[in-house]
């Protein structure tokens, strides 16, 4: 059992996108084993954590799980610590310290990728806004016209797509700019301003073929420009014109008479073949005949070079306008272009036939210039000889042989011919992409893209593709059974959203992609929100913000509930109550209230109540959300008013205290175990010296409560308060006295009579109570008599 085994046997299954979404496999060609994402350890030396466990055998030997981001966590348990542990750990170049196993974190990202994680994140952040904008525009356009998107192919729509394409393109520019020197070196022929990346090259290719309808007529010219920018990407694996010119650049410094060197002429012809006219002219200016001391002796030579320079710089091009001072005459319409080209070719043939060639004494110059003329006249052999890569050969066809008059179908067959003529050993990803695009094979294009550039590229380029034509649009939007009823477009968005969701910093981007998925988006969004950690308030509020934005009220309240429970369990009672209150979860609040009252019963004395002040403030005056905790507030009010009463003086505060007492006693949420302490505390009020503060009905209510309490005492779950044993009876006595006073003051003689009766009856009972406190009180009829009296 070594780690090697698990690396080799499972790369495809572990690749995140293939593993998570097996339907994707059916659409895309199974990648070659060479091209599959390699498993690279997170850093050069993988971090290995020793595992200590005391599990008895047999334990599972290997466990795989996702770690943060794209990394995979491989845990190895040792069966027999002496041998296999050493075997496993030596494979990982870590030391064995006699532990029960190791955990290794492996990065699943493409190790050889040119873009690191931080850069990818930057691209992901930046591409959200254009994506969302395009979706919005699409939705509003659909809502307005009630027509399918394909019929929206008006000018405005293309502008939107172009905007989108350009914005994303601007993101892909590598942020690190090389400082460009201000002094122009005449011997410097290649300018390297920015580092091109395959990703940017691919995106531009998409833009040329699918987004840029304005330049559709000049498509071959766009390809020429594209190759000029990105030819260097191919030179990593093949000899290219670019690499040739870079070599020449190195040699130029050392060479004295460069026109004798065949490399010089090769470089010029290659540059001309792929249409880099600036470089051609620049190189020709370096020709020895242009030097001041040799002008006199090499006049004919110089005349020929100048003529070629003139012809090169006047080469007709079918494009809108010359970009950045590029050479060549630009023509917008095909007719003008054809006329100009005919004239230009006439000049070429005239020069070719002129007699000056014989007078030119320098052999290499003559051959080189002749070769240049042949290239410009479209001689296939010279073109083939001066280009390296099939792509360059292909581009040179457009420039010199069949200038800009080919359609997409013939472009594809031409590309096939070129590949046959100049076969390549290593298939570059961009080539596959280009062939796919030319072949108008949507599936192939998507598969190539996914393989080479990952889900970001696919999710975003699909927008261009669906704008590209009706056929690809139907392919992308068709609901498929094998994908669970979702379309390819949705599938790729979901895949990308999954990738985003796996990272702690990018999960907030995933909702934007998920809501654009009609079928499964919202469900996945809910799952995503549930999976986020809620420990910290800031993170929690960010989750809730998404709940609010996408109107997922039930999800939000559930998350708040989870947070509330979390805080409560960690001793942050205030936060717990707050979040449960926000979630309006009365069931849990009531449960919590019971626990809290235990706490109150122990700690609350009149002094330490100020500790509770903050919590009571938090509960607020809104009784609906507080649940059972509302009691706390009333209890506090009551205690406060009780403290304010001065001794023996009737005033409003005493009356207020009684009112709050009655409120507490009437409220069903007041727990039973607080009844007696409450009444005992308010004994001062009940035995008010001057006149009773309670009226008859209130007294009756309190007596009823007392009765209920004495019944409850018999039950096993009764919690005894820390009060003197006579508490109950003394309260009862006080209440009876109040009744006595009230009835005796009443004017009705009948009432007086009955009250005396009741009074005596009550007193006798009370005597009994005092004599024998253990006696069950349920036989006592006092209150019921009184109630009857009042009824009469």
């Amino acid at each position: 059992m070594t780690t090697k085994w698990c690396f080799q046997s499972t790369p495809k299954a572990l690749t995140p996108h293939f593993a998570l979404h097996s339907p994707a496999k059916m659409l895309e060609p199974v990648p070659d084993t060479d091209d599959a994402l390699p498993l690279v350890p997170l850093s050069q030396e993988p971090v290995a954590y020793p595992l200590h466990h005391s599990l008895s055998h047999p334990v599972s030997r290997v466990s795989l799980c996702w770690s943060r981001g794209n990394s995979l966590r491989v845990s190895l348990f040792c069966q027999e610590p002496p041998e296999s542990a050493i075997e496993a750990t030596t494979a990982l170049t870590t030391e064995d310290d006699g532990s029960g196993g190791v955990v290794v974190e492996l990065s699943m990202s493409n190790g050889s990728s040119e873009i690191d994680d931080a850069e990818w994140r930057r691209i992901a952040y930046g591409s959200v806004a254009p994506f969302a904008l395009l979706q919005n525009r699409k939705n509003s356009a659909v809502a307005l016209s009630k027509l399918p998107i394909a019929s929206l192919s008006n000018v405005e729509w293309w502008e939107y797509v172009m905007d989108y394409s350009k914005e994303i393109n601007s993101l892909l520019v590598n942020s690190k700019l090389h400082p460009s020197s201000m002094i122009d070196d005449p011997r410097k022929i290649m300018k390297v301003i920015k580092e091109p990346t395959c990703l940017k090259a691919a995106w531009e290719l998409w833009g040329i073929f699918y987004a840029d309808k304005q330049h559709q007529a000049w498509l071959p010219e766009c390809l020429v420009d594209w190759l000029a920018d990105y030819d260097c990407l191919f030179s990593q694996t093949h000899p290219t014109v670019h690499s040739k010119l870079v070599d020449l650049q190195h040699d130029l410094v050392n060479l004295q008479t460069i026109e004798d060197n065949p490399k010089y002429w090769e470089g010029i012809s290659s540059a001309l073949a792929v249409g880099w006219l600036d470089i051609v002219v620049k190189l020709l200016h370096l020709h020895g005949c242009n030097q001041l001391d040799q002008i006199g002796s090499r006049e004919v030579e110089k005349g020929l070079v100048d003529a070629v320079v003139f012809l090169v710089s006047k080469m007709p091009r079918l494009r809108s306008e010359s970009v950045g001072g590029r050479l060549g005459e630009c023509y917008k319409s095909r007719q003008d272009f054809n006329m100009a080209r005919e004239k230009w070719r006439a000049k070429l043939t005239k020069l070719d036939c002129s007699g000056f060639w014989i007078q030119c004494g320098h052999q290499p110059t003559r051959d080189g210039l002749k070769n240049l003329l042949l290239i410009m006249l479209g001689d296939i052999d010279s073109l083939s000889a001066s280009t390296c890569h099939w792509m360059e050969f292909y581009i040179s066809h457009f420039l010199h042989m069949r200038p800009f008059t080919v359609g997409l179908e013939s472009m594809y067959s031409l590309a096939q011919q070129c590949i046959q003529l100049k076969p390549v050993t290593h298939r570059h990803t961009l080539m596959g992409l280009l062939v796919g695009i030319l072949g108008e094979n949507t599936e192939v294009v998507l598969a190539e893209c996914f393989k080479a550039f990952g889900p970001w590229m696919v999710a975003h380029s699909i927008e261009l593709l669906s704008a590209g034509g009706e056929q690809s649009e139907t392919i992308l939007h068709q609901k498929r059974h094998n994908l669970g009823g979702i379309s390819i477009e949705e599938l790729h968005r979901i895949v990308y959203a999954q990738v985003l969701a796996s990272h702690a910093l990018t999960w907030q981007l995933a909702p934007i992609y998920l809501v654009s998925c009609e079928k499964q988006g919202m469900d996945l969004l809910e799952i995503l929100l549930y999976r986020q950690p809620v420990q910290h308030n800031q993170g929690l509020l960010k989750i809730l913000e998404y709940g609010r934005l996408y109107e997922l009220g039930s999800v939000s309240s559930k998350i708040m509930m989870i947070a509330g429970i979390h805080h409560w369990k960690h001793g942050r009672k205030g936060s717990g109550i707050y979040w449960l209150q926000q979630a309006q979860d009365e069931v849990r609040l009531n449960k919590i209230a019971l626990q809290l009252f235990d706490f109150v019963g122990k700690t609350v004395s009149s002094e330490s109540f100020k500790q509770w002040e903050g919590l009571i403030e938090l509960l607020g005056s809104d009784t609906k959300t507080a649940g059972g905790l509302e009691f706390l507030r009333k209890y506090r009010d009551f205690k406060k008013s009780l403290q304010q009463i001065p001794d023996g003086k009737v005033n409003d505060t005493a009356r207020q205290a009684v009112e709050s007492l009655m409120k507490l006693m009437k409220n069903p949420s007041t727990p039973q175990r607080f009844w007696l302490p409450l009444l005992y505390d308010s004994l001062k009020l009940l035995t008010w010296p001057e006149h009773p503060l309670l009226n008859v009905s209130e007294t009756n209510l309190l007596l009823n409560k007392l009765q209920e309490l004495s019944m409850a005492k018999l039950r096993p779950d009764y919690i005894d308060a820390d009060l003197p044993p006579q508490a109950l009876s003394s309260v009862r006595l006080a209440l009876a006295k109040i009744l006595d006073v009230l009835f005796s003051r009443s004017d009705n003689p009948f009432m007086q009579f009955r009250s005396k009766e009741a009074q005596t009856a009550g007193k006798s009972r009370l005597k009994k109570c005092h004599e024998c406190p253990q006696l069950p009180h349920n036989t006592w009829k006092g209150p019921s008599i009184c109630t009857k009296v009042v009824d009469i």
Binding site: G69, Q508, L541, R572, K573, S575
Partner: protein, 588 residues
């Protein structure tokens, strides 16, 4: 909502950092030509967090000047930070930060062309805070820290050793989320349910005051995320929290919150720039209304806030909110440069920071002008003057800064003079001198004359960074839209504003506190005992002649003399001069 036009007034530069920004602060100026920002960063690739000091420098060519950040120093942190503060004393830097692990750390970096760490102190104790510290604040050498566990601790530095003491422990019954010093003895904290507490060290054991807001019904209570207290107005505690709420608690009128922004609060729908959580609030002195001729200024200074929905805005009482930045991701923190408050830096959720440069002479025309500002010739000429001033200045000047805003009045002259004193002091302390620096000053008395003169002996202005050379400068005014719509005619604009205020006045009688900014005025205590103000804003006094010789006065007369009457309008100025904090309404 008036959005500043970005092309000609506000310069925004977004700088990706490729690390998550947990907190950021400007550092006080350390050298003449560098600006430093301290970040607390979290690197998700290596799961490590650090405190990094970056220097902010301007690069670029003549057409576009873009600031760039370069790391000057980095100190590792054990856990992610929750709060980051910098002590503002100019010659000693103190960086304090708190972590999720419940530790408080103080760093003392020393700058001499490069940062070196002199000392690093930290408190990490289970009895200090259990769980994350939610917020800290530093004043001089004392640091208050509050946590969700309901503990409030004061940590003080003495003899290069940290010692802490518990101020309060609620045992988790109350969680605190924000803290801010008001004075060396007092600080304020905020918590759940928009609760605010005022603590006084002379009253230990419990908060000295609690905010019992009479919030209107149907208010969803949120969490206070940030508190700010202006050093010259210590009685007002500003707080920002959930659902876009920014409110102020005036200790003198404790019941009613002054709501500056928020959703669904108050009878009147206030215009709120944001609907989600406001992460940070700070007083913003940049846009303060500085017209002293209208005595009735708004009660509150403008407030800058940043929110979860990517809004950085300035709100004020009686002012339209001004959006400075609208991002597609959350803005978690921001800081206004204390030395030059036209520079703001804010951190974006997407691992980036944005640097904002506001035009340094921006002057806000106050919305609530009780007819105070006439569109007089001086205002117009000021406008016409500033335009060419900005357009014509040569790019050779390393610095162009307007001292003070266009103001008039004796008080502000005083203010300006004190500012100049400060500058002189700074210049003397700075060894780098240059004689060819030119300072522009605006004299706002009668006509505005931009007199170009050599600066005082050695005065050096410290910020060469944001020198703007492009021609697209104009005076930025708030309400640029309305100005545009009124075809640039000033009188029309002002009438428009005035009518808008007239509509809103029935709801809020314009009670003004007639107090100048900048320094605190004292109440004349004898007068305070003799006058009072009614709810409508009238000043009342007692009547004379009821002390003696009462036998000859009949009862009707005596009764009349016992009642209070209103002070005559002509005497209002005298009373107000004595009692600057009286809430007077001159209209009733």
């Amino acid at each position: 909502m008036a959005v500043m036009q970005t092309q000609n007034s506000l310069h925004i530069h977004k700088l990706p950092l490729s690390k998550y920004v947990d907190g950021l602060r400007w550092l006080p100026p350390l050298s003449a030509f560098d600006k430093f920002v301290v970040f607390s960063l979290f690197d998700s690739d290596s799961c490590s967090s650090s405190i990094e000091i970056h220097s902010l420098t301007a690069t670029g060519n003549d057409h576009s000047i873009s600031p760039s950040l370069s790391s000057a120093s980095s100190f590792p942190s054990l856990s992610r930070t929750t709060s980051l503060r910098v002590s503002q004393s100019p010659y000693k830097i103190l960086i304090a930060f708190s972590t999720f692990a419940g530790s408080l750390n103080l760093l003392f970096p020393v700058y001499s062309g490069d940062f070196t760490l002199e000392t690093q102190l930290s408190v990490r104790d289970s009895s200090f805070h259990s769980g994350p510290i939610s917020d800290i604040d530093v004043l001089e050498n004392e640091c208050v820290s509050v946590g969700e566990d309901g503990r409030v601790n004061l940590t003080s530095l003495c003899d290069s050793r940290l010692s802490y003491r518990r101020v309060f422990d609620s045992n988790g019954l109350v969680s605190y989320t924000a803290a801010k010093w008001a004075s060396p003895m007092e600080f304020a904290t905020g918590g759940l349910g928009f609760s605010l507490q005022w603590w006084d060290q002379r009253k230990p054991g419990e908060p000295a005051l609690r905010f019992k807001g009479n919030w209107p019904q149907k208010t969803t209570h949120g969490i206070v995320h940030s508190i700010d207290i202006h050093p010259s107005r210590k009685h007002i505690c500003l707080a920002g929290g959930s659902s876009g709420t920014v409110f102020a608690w005036d200790l003198r009128w404790q019941q009613q919150p002054i709501i500056l922004s928020g959703v669904g609060i108050g009878e009147r729908p206030t215009r709120s720039p944001s609907e989600s959580d406001v992460w940070e609030v700070q007083y913003d002195c940049h846009l303060q209304s500085s017209n002293i001729s209208s005595i009735s200024s708004p009660r509150m200074l403008p407030v800058m806030m940043c929110a979860e929905d990517g809004i950085l805005a300035v709100v004020g009482q009686g002012l339209e909110p001004v959006e400075l930045l609208a991002e597609s991701c959350a803005i978690n923190n921001f800081d206004i440069d204390k030395q030059n408050n036209s520079h703001v830096i804010c951190s974006l959720e997407w691992e980036a920071v944005a640097v904002l440069t506001r035009p340094s002479s921006a002057k806000l025309i106050p919305a609530s002008m009780d007819g105070g500002l006439e569109p007089n010739s001086s205002t117009k000429s000021m406008l016409s003057y500033i335009f060419p001033l900005y357009c014509d200045h040569s790019p050779n000047f390393p610095e162009l800064q307007f001292f003070g805003h266009a103001r008039s009045g004796a008080r502000n002259r005083l203010d300006r003079r004190s500012k100049q004193r400060q500058m002189m002091a700074a210049a003397l302390a700075t060894p780098i001198l240059s004689s060819n620096l030119i300072r522009f000053r605006i004299h706002s008395s009668n006509l505005i004359l931009p007199s170009i003169r050599k600066s005082y002996s050695n005065a050096v202005n410290l910020t060469p960074l944001f020198t703007e050379r492009s021609n697209n400068y104009s005076l930025n005014l708030n309400y640029s839209h309305s100005i545009a719509s009124a075809a640039g005619l000033w009188p029309v604009v002002l009438q428009k504003r005035a009518s808008a205020i007239a509509v809103s006045s029935p709801f809020h009688p314009s009670l003004g506190v007639f107090c100048a900014k900048g320094y605190k005025m004292k109440t004349h205590k004898a007068s305070a005992k003799r006058f009072r103000v009614t709810g409508r804003g009238k000043i009342m006094r007692r009547r004379a002649g009821k002390q003696h010789l009462l036998a000859k006065k009949n009862s009707k007369r005596k009764l009349r003399l016992s009642k209070m009457v209103q002070v005559h309008k002509s005497d209002y100025d005298n009373v107000i001069g004595a009692l600057p904090y009286l809430k007077v309404n001159r209209q009733v």
